[in-house]
């Protein structure tokens, strides 16, 4: 996989914006089972406005694209998923600061920084039925692949399939954080919309990156 440029990253955000336009109603639907039915709407709007904002003024380097993307989500997305995605993205961007050419181990560090930041803000853990349950296995799988010395493409593949499995596994979790936690046992049997959203984002990113 070749190195990503700031301009490509901005295009990736546009690709993500399109993904969430397409998937808005499927995510709203998932959110209506365990929450209030607007998780998809929230993400659609956040990615669309982010893409518009980034396109209006191209940052110099990759880390500042990511940081700005995170900042946009933090300050203007509202809701839960918006600000927490923002917290994660922003932390990842900070981790990437000063690195002109992102390597596989940088990506692992960024992923872990994102996980840490989201945990601190949201006070959720593995198994609480949140997007962390897709994000954490994805980063772990990526990291393990990289440790085994596979290509970044393969590592990304592993990350995507682990994220999918992680999201699927939220079905059998009882929510302990966020709005779904009010449901107690009634949250069982439904995929967490945030986890599903993370899978969609990752799949979309993979498609974009490998399709370049």
């Amino acid at each position: 996989m070749k190195n990503i440029t700031p301009a490509e990253l901005v295009n990736l955000v546009e690709a993500l914006a399109r993904t969430f336009e397409e998937e808005e109603s499927s995510l709203n639907e998932l959110d209506s089972k365990v929450g209030d039915g607007e998780c998809g709407a929230n993400l659609r709007k956040a990615f669309r406005t982010a893409s518009v904002k980034l396109q209006s003024q191209l940052p110099r380097d990759v880390s500042s694209v990511i940081e700005r993307l995170g900042m946009h989500f933090i300050t203007s997305a509202g809701g839960t998923i918006g600000i927490l995605f923002g917290v994660g993205i922003h932390a990842a961007g900070k981790e990437a600061a000063g690195i002109s050419c992102l390597g596989a181990t940088d990506v692992v560090k960024m992923g872990n920084a994102a996980i840490e930041a989201v945990k601190v803000r949201g006070k959720a853990q593995t198994g609480d039925k949140t997007f962390l349950d897709a994000l954490i296995p994805a980063v772990a799988a990526f990291s393990a692949s990289v440790d085994k010395g596979t290509s970044i493409d393969n590592a990304l593949n592993d990350a995507v399939s682990s994220a999918r499995k992680g999201a699927e596994a939220t079905k059998s979790m009882v929510a302990r954080r966020g709005r779904a936690s009010y449901l107690g046992g009634r949250s069982l049997g439904h995929i967490d919309p945030g986890a599903r959203a993370f899978v969609l984002a990752l799949e979309s990113a993979q498609k974009f990156l490998t399709g370049r």
Binding site: S32, D36, G78, G79, I83, G122, L183
Partner: protein, 332 residues
């Protein structure tokens, strides 16, 4: 979906336009921000109160902006917390030098966004404090949940804190009164029909004929359990039972009682529920000193209601009965 709207993605903006057009004597809008502020804000030397949350709960929170209650209300998208930008802009705008007090309903999104804005405002040198309202007894209070939700009782916090601020209370005093009220505040709700988020276009859940949900929040999310539909008397027993299990009331206690419609419940039914609630309390020897019956914190066109009890002492009584002039809460 049957709604009297134009573009589903524009409902909040258009609603606020209508709101500002209707109540120019009380409020104005911060341009482009979906923030409603007191017309005469910033009020110099007064602690400023900021609240808000997702839209769909009208008249909350914009309806409580005005003399004696809030200085600003931030309106998020439907059922989506307002963003940090809005909240920060509201804080900056209404700050009158005596500190800003945030009234946050306990939802993950609201807490995250309000607290982030609070941190940023603090960095700018504005003294900000906050209360997190969690009056809904239907959610178990445990480490295994995000904690209890804030529902209709939040309006009493607006009123109590607002009266204290209007009377010249310091930020700490405003917070102390709000916390005193919160300690004595409990609510519980139920629904007989769901609501539809405009952008989603269909109900968040369905309730078969003859069934109802107990322990609803105010976001169209399912409740804690589903039962056969019951009489107003039985429903009141369940709701009041949940409330008094958590806030034991004794003979001689004095309370304020709110019977709140969730959006589509006829006024007639609210008064029937209110009658049941008053007589349950009276049977316990509890005195209902003040009644509020109507729509205070809704959930779009959900049909159902919540009951809120605020146990009073002299301080709370005085603050609750103080005058207020806001679009949805006028008291002389």
């Amino acid at each position: 979906m049957k709604k009297l709207i134009n573009d589903p993605t524009n409902v909040v903006q258009e609603m606020l336009d209508g709101f500002a057009a209707a109540h120019p004597q009380h409020v104005r809008l911060l341009e482009g921000l979906n923030v409603v502020v007191r017309k005469d804000s910033p009020v110099k030397g007064k602690v400023a109160l900021v609240s808000g949350g997702g839209s769909g709960h009208e008249p909350a929170h914009a309806g409580y902006v005005g003399a004696g209650m809030l200085d600003a209300a931030c309106a998020g998208d439907v059922f989506t917390s307002p963003n940090v930008e809005q909240i920060l802009a509201a804080i900056r705008h209404v700050s009158g030098g005596a500190g800003v007090f945030l009234i946050i309903k306990n939802y993950t999104g609201d807490v995250l966004n309000f607290e982030m804005a609070m941190e940023l405002a603090g960095d700018e040198g504005i003294t900000v404090d906050r209360i997190i309202v969690n009056d809904d007894v239907s959610v178990e209070e445990s480490a295994r949940t995000a904690g209890r939700r804030g529902i209709a009782g939040t309006v009493f916090i607006h009123k109590i804190a607002g009266a204290r601020a209007e009377a010249g209370g310091s930020l700490d005093e405003v917070k102390a009164s709000a916390e005193l009220a919160l300690k004595n505040l409990r609510s519980m709700g139920m629904a007989i029909s769901p609501c539809t988020v405009p952008a989603m276009g269909k109900p968040t859940f369905t309730l078969p004929d003859g069934e109802m949900e107990i322990g609803m929040g105010i976001h169209g999310e399912p409740g804690i359990k589903r039962t056969k539909i019951m009489s107003a008397g039985q429903v009141t027993e369940i709701l009041m039972g949940g409330i008094t299990a958590d806030l034991p009331l004794r003979k001689g206690d004095e309370v304020a009682l709110m019977t709140n419609g969730l959006g589509a419940t006829p006024v007639m039914e609210l008064y029937i529920m209110h009658r049941e609630a008053v007589s349950l309390l009276q049977a316990k020897g509890v005195k209902v000193c003040a009644s509020y019956v109507g729509e205070f914190m809704t959930s779009l066109e959900m049909s159902g209601c919540s009951l809120t009890v605020l146990r009073l002492n002299e301080e709370l009584k005085t603050l609750l009965s103080a005058p207020s002039r806001t679009p949805a809460f006028v008291q002389v």
